[in-house]
């Protein structure tokens, strides 16, 4: 456990974080769970890479961070998409779909 079952491509994590935050602001733990659930346990996010990625995205202005109370009344750092992050997500999603489609076509091609 701990290691992701499927190795993640460089830069994919940023995209997944942005996507996860699209609906609502979330804290780091929430993002971990969400990615795990949505990928049906196929992807596990290592916090060793999650938090640096979150801080990098924040530093680049793609997401904003705020301390807020959770439903259990603990203080947690919530991240939400900025307008810039939203634009980035749209652009990157399109890129990703095009790229993965192309790779899939090549791998699926009958030789």
């Amino acid at each position: 456990m701990g290691k992701s079952k499927t190795e993640m491509l460089q830069g994919t994590l940023d995209l997944l974080i942005l996507k996860t935050l699209e609906l609502e602001p979330m804290h780091g733990w929430g993002i971990t769970l969400r990615i795990q659930t949505l990928s049906e346990n196929e992807l596990r996010v290592n916090q060793g890479s999650l938090y640096p990625a979150l801080h990098r995205l924040e530093e680049n202005g793609l997401i904003l961070a705020k301390w807020r109370a959770t439903e259990n009344n603990r203080q947690a750092r919530y991240y939400e998409l900025s307008a810039k992050g939203r634009r980035k997500l749209a652009a990157e999603t399109e890129n990703w779909l095009r790229l993965s489609g192309a790779v899939g076509r090549i791998l699926g091609a009958v030789s």
Binding site: N46, Q47, E58, R74, A76
Partner: protein
Amino acid sequence: MIRRIVRAIGDLFDRDGRDRGLDAELRFHVDNAAEQLRAEGHSREDAERRARMNTGNLDAVKDECRETRLSHTIETSWLDMRQGVRMLTQNPGFTLAALGTLAVGIGATTAIFSLVYGVLLRPLPYGRGDDLIVLHQQAQARNQRDLRFSVKEIEDYRGAKNTLDAVVEHHSMVFLLLGDNFAERVQTAVVSANFFDSLGVKPALGRTFVESDDTTEADGVLVLSHKYWSSRHGADPSIVGRVFAMNNRPHRVIGVLPPIPQYPIESDVYMPTSHCPTRSSQRFQANRNARMMTVFARKKQNATIEQARAELSSIAGQLSQAYPESYRPELGYKIAAESLHEELTSSAPPALMVLLGAAGFVLLIACANVANLLLAQLLRRGRELALRAALGASRGRLIRQLLAEGIVLSLAGGLLGVAMAPLSLRVLQRFAERFTPRAAEVTVVLGNLILRCDRAGSTAFGMFERAALDVTRPTPSDDKACCSASRARTQ
């Protein structure tokens, strides 16, 4: 970006707050992970242990988070710089040698580049300076290339209306200027009423001449040069309206020029043509051979200088036919037009280019010398660097530190060089004055300064990148050097 900088500043002042936040955030994560494990049936202790294990090295994660921040970059750069300064002060001999070499190299190129820029590259300080041209009459058979113009000739050449917007004249005289309690000889430029308008010069005070000033019946008027106004009249703002006597008639000051270099000659005061006793006499005006005036023209924006030359030449042809006694065919009469910029600098380029080339080599040699010094210095520091690497400094970190030292050195050298530049520039200026009246305008300009800093910076980067890559690369020979050095110490 602004938000980023604001936050970086906040971080710098509240380092503890930033780190506490990071701690709390990660603790929250670990606690949640432990809770989940407990829910899956692990005992409390076991769950906490596993959760911490899964997280990996918390300090490493924190470090990595911190490193994404701009404030972190600023902090480490600042540390590197301080370390660089310390290194330099610990080796004063090396530092002095390197700084001296850099300062001389950079100072020389700065001075010469300033000169080249001021004389050759900078636009003329006039509105639409590129359209200004100078006319010359030439008698080629006698090898006379810059004959002046008579009143009649100026009137004739004003006929080149297709390519020229304006044709203005200038000649210089020395007159006696009488004030209430002083009398002095002033260099007086006698110019057409539209002289300043055509050159695109706007007055600093009052106004310049208008057509109605340029008649013999009009009151005498004067425009003062900025230099004369400030040196002889203490830059008195109420000078406009003051009346002086000149050539036995009153002359009222109507304006002061901005501080621009004056072509073709530095003058104290300006007056319109009809108030110059010589220029306004009937006999002088009627004499086609009384050539006293310099003539400038402003060409139309859509006309080329070749078109202007063609139109002027056709007028010259008509003149030669109409007045054969003034333009005897055997003299080879011609009219020439040259852009003012070209005219002012045409004799300067070869000498300046040679100087610029020489200065470039001086800088090159200076850089090579400093690079050598640095390399020797770095080899001596092999052990220090090995120790740092052993203590966990990454290669990138070592290179950054060496680069910081290089930047400190180069910036200091660059500053010294720029400080030296004005000294050498004064000597150069006197030299350049022999070629071009533009030498007086030359200064060490700010844009040039930035270019200089840039060069100082890239000099540093080039040298250090190379050296740093070499020294921080672990090679067998490095190890040997280290071993033998340590053996030498134990013996």
